[in-house]
């Protein structure tokens, strides 16, 4: 058992809709794992269940063989799981730098000694700001550090979200459609950055509809359909799997997912 993150039979229903039914996946330490499947197959729900945004109906989530099922989002984050959202979520009226500092609090605190903290200490010490600048340079939005996040373009917000998740140095990062709605050049940048971080030891689990992106980046791809993991394997195997073609292409009237082609 070397899986860094795994789910075992996770189920979740919203009203009458069974979004996940006994979903089990595994993400190996140091890998870039992909999660694909048609719209409504439960990918984002699975992300929410792992990161504490909602309670699991049944089943369990493990990080490093420790049960983390239905922990609150702040606790999950503190344990080393960072995530981004499909529709990017940044703090729009804070500056880019302030966004970074909010995410760095956890890290700053763990570095301090003693119980007492000055609550009125200025936000973000020199070390944090330096680290934040390095990361913003890494993702290519350093020149926007002083701008309010609401002035950023969609793609820039995606990069900011990735940057501020990185500052907390999570063991594993869950990316929900990092390439969605982003121009091709930026997609190249994002994928390059993910690879670089992965070489540095960060594990990734990526939900994405852009097949070229997923197949080119991931070591292992899991396919979700109707809230279940139907198949898992290296990209080449997945590409030719009958069940994948069924799930994605299906019959003509089911095919509502143009980006999956």
């Amino acid at each position: 058992m070397t899986a860094l993150l795994r789910t075992e039979g996770v189920s979740k229903a919203y009203g009458g809709v069974q979004a996940l039914s006994g979903c089990s996946i595994q993400v190996e330490r140091g890998s870039i794992a992909g999660l694909i499947g048609p719209n409504g197959s439960g990918k984002t729900t699975l992300f929410n269940m792992i990161t504490g945004y909602g309670r699991v109906d049944s089943g369990d989530v493990y990080l490093n063989d420790t049960k983390i099922t239905s922990l609150a989002p702040d606790k999950v984050f503190a344990l080393g799981i960072g995530r981004t959202f499909q529709l990017t979520r940044v703090f729009s009226r804070l500056t880019v730098m302030e966004n970074m500092i909010v995410a760095a609090h956890h890290k700053e605190r763990s570095g301090q000694t003693g119980r007492f903290r000055n609550p009125f200490a200025r936000a973000g010490g020199a070390a944090t700001r330096k680290r934040a600048m390095e990361l913003l340079e890494f993702t290519g939005i350093a020149k926007l550090a002083g701008d309010r996040a609401e002035t950023l373009s969609y793609g820039q917000r995606k990069l900011l979200e990735l940057s501020y998740v990185l500052i907390a140095e999570p063991e594993i990062i869950l990316l929900d459609e990092p390439a969605g709605g982003v121009n091709p050049t930026l997609i190249g940048t994002i994928s390059e950055r993910i690879r670089a971080l992965n070489r540095g030891g960060t594990t990734f689990l990526i939900v994405e509809h852009n097949m070229e992106f997923v197949m080119g980046l991931c070591d292992q791809v899991t396919v979700l359909d109707y809230g279940n993991a139907v198949v898992s394997g290296p990209p080449d195997t997945i590409r030719n799997d009958r069940r994948v073609l069924d799930a994605y292409l299906g019959s003509a009237e089911e095919d509502d997912d143009s980006s999956a082609a």
Binding site: T51, G52, Y53, A72, P73, D74, V76, F77, A78, R83, F85, R89, V90, F91, S92, R93, L94, E98, I101, V102, A103, H105, H106, E108, P119, F120, A121, R122, A123, G124, R148, E150, T151, Y164, A168
Partner: protein, 352 residues
């Protein structure tokens, strides 16, 4: 940047000096009105520390205020206190309000937006009803302090300087919180609470802390108000009008900014005091206030200061652009509009 900070410091020093000199003018009425103005400055700033920074609109600040009023009233009544010693009790009013803020916050802060507003109003009415119905609060008759046997010419001076001290302390505190790690967490909650939680911000604890701080300042002002007004009555200590007024002050000046609530209070409270003297029926002033609230929410949702600041930035950018055009002239073959679009334009008008 350096010179701007210097100008600001100088401006603040002048303001503070003027404020400190007001009672020396010897005008009793002016001092009396100014006490209320300063109290509203303090209350609006306190309200803003919680509601402005987090975006949780509370209409329950009068709960803290009234708790402060009654705490000091009950202590002075039972201990038979009179004179300057009562001034030492005001922080106890704040302390009692802070204690009330904990269960109040634990209940109300579970819900957001409109639901939160409704819960704060409900809690407010519970407190008002308790004050007018319990026997130990004096019921509808309330509590009246012993007569203050001070010189009528300067009787309001101690109240004035206490109110000034509280207001300045509240402003300094708000400023310290704004730039701190704590303040940043509050503002992150305002923008996206769930996301903040997902980045390790302990949202409930952070919100509750701000709520308690806000309650403490407001309660201290309540304690001051009891002795200043010489009564603790349910309808004035727990006054729905108070809730609306401080919220309006913050909205008018600039919701969630540092200077906004101060500006709003300085603008609005003198008007209210004046209006109450002009018309015998106080409800006229209240109707005007209600109408003003609607106008501000609809036409100036971000408040005067942010809107003016935005217009100024836009104007400066316009002037810079004009200067650049005069200096260099538009490059040949390019329409004028292209130069304008390329230069730094006014800050984007953000979503209101």
């Amino acid at each position: 940047m350096r010179s701007l900070a210097l100008w600001r410091a100088a401006g603040l020093a002048v303001l503070l000096a003027v404020a400190a000199l007001i009672p020396l003018a010897g005008n009793v009425e002016l001092t009396q009105v100014s006490v209320l103005v300063l109290m509203y400055v303090g209350a609006a700033v306190a309200w803003n520390i919680f509601s402005g920074f987090t975006g949780y609109i509370s209409l329950g600040a009068a709960v803290f205020f009234g708790t402060g009023v009654y705490t000091v009233a009950l202590i002075t009544k039972h201990l038979n206190l009179v004179g300057g010693v009562v001034f030492a009790l005001y922080p106890l009013g704040g302390l009692a309000a802070a204690v009330v803020a904990v269960p109040f916050g634990l209940v109300a802060l579970r819900v957001r937006r409109h639901t939160f507003v409704v819960v704060t109003i409900a809690v407010f009415f519970i407190f008002q009803l308790m004050a007018s119905n319990f026997s130990w609060t004096g019921g509808a008759v309330g509590i009246i302090p012993q007569y203050l046997n001070w010189d009528q010419a300067t009787v309001y001076n101690p109240f004035y300087y206490t109110a000034l001290l509280i207001a300045v302390a509240a402003i300094v505190l708000a400023w310290a919180i704004w730039g701190s790690r704590f303040g940043l967490q509050l503002r992150a909650i305002r923008d996206d609470e769930d996301r903040a939680r997902g980045l390790g911000v302990k949202t409930m604890r952070v919100k509750l802390t701000a709520f308690v701080i806000s309650g403490f300042i407001t309660g201290t002002l309540g304690g001051l108000y009891f002795y200043f007004q010489s009564d603790a009555l349910p309808q004035y200590a727990f006054n729905p009008f108070f809730d609306l007024t401080i919220a309006l002050m913050a909205f008018l000046g600039g919701f969630g900014t540092l200077a906004g609530p101060i500006f709003g209070a300085l603008l609005l409270e003198p008007y209210l005091g004046w209006a109450q003297q002009q018309v015998t029926n106080t409800y006229v002033a209240q109707i005007v206030l209600g109408a003003l609230f609607l106008i501000v929410i609809i036409f100036l949702p971000r408040g005067i200061l942010p809107t003016v600041g935005e217009k100024l930035t836009a104007f400066r950018a316009y002037r810079r652009r004009r200067a650049a055009e005069r200096g260099a002239g538009p490059p040949p073959g390019l329409p004028v509009g292209a130069t304008a679009a390329g230069s730094p334009g006014p800050t984007t008008r953000s979503a209101s």
